[in-house]
Subunit: 140 residues, 2 copies
Amino acid sequence: MINHHRSVKVLRRGDLARLTGCNLETIRYYENIGVMPEPPRSSKNYRVYDDRHVARLRFIMRARELGFTLDEVRDLLALVDGGAQTCGEVQGLANSHLASIRAKIDDLKRIERVLSSTVAQCTGDDVPECPVIDALTEVT
Amino acid sequence: MINHHRSVKVLRRGDLARLTGCNLETIRYYENIGVMPEPPRSSKNYRVYDDRHVARLRFIMRARELGFTLDEVRDLLALVDGGAQTCGEVQGLANSHLASIRAKIDDLKRIERVLSSTVAQCTGDDVPECPVIDALTEVT
DNA sequence: CTTGAGCCTGTACCTGCTACAGACCCTAGA
DNA sequence: TCTAGGGTCTGTAGCAGGTACAGGCTCAAG
């Protein structure tokens, strides 16, 4: 591993936000809930970040983009931090997450079917009769 | 003795909850945020509901099941309450809701594609190398 | 020396509920 | 009649997953 001996620029919270595209306040939030580590502080109590913080935040953000909850992100990070994470363990988490994504898709598709077939019956006219309202008002 | 044999039974909050399947506290919440009207009160300050409240709550619950946000529900109710709602107006709300459902489905499908194709590369073995972790760690 | 930007903390707000505490009220059984 | 148990009332706090202030420090440029 290469240790860069050129002068390392100190990253502050705003720098980290800019480098990752993460919201400034969200970084503090992630620290509070324990997915980002507490960084060292400068003499004036400013948070001081380095490359590893950038990498970790990117990891978190990618996992969030893939729909992992912050709890799941914590699990993934715990595995990675444990150093001895196995492909099997990670695969397990990813698969169960995948299952819940598929369940959500199915839910939304069902909703989409019902709603679109109802809307399809609308005349769209200036009349008070409306199949959508009927469906919502329906006595079943 | 006076009201005892009347056919119109007075509904209290718990009755409304049972009749609709709505959570007891949610009813009060809906009142607070203004999607359920403030009902009259009994002499002992108990909320008193009738059939129209049952119908309204069912309307709200059906709209929620179809994924309408409470803001959208408020809009639908305003149209219905306005008395002069037209099929065109309702159709407009439903269509824009439909568009956001479809957008969510597309999002989730994209996520599902990425994640499932990544997981498919996992060996699932007891080894530390894992395509999922690689994807999350990847320097782009 | 001032001005503006950045950072610090704590806290409130958002959606859509759910749950609890502590006070009343009501009814049935002993 | 008393009492135990339900029900109801209010306000408030909590969940996820952030976002956005206010009020106070600190720092660099002009």
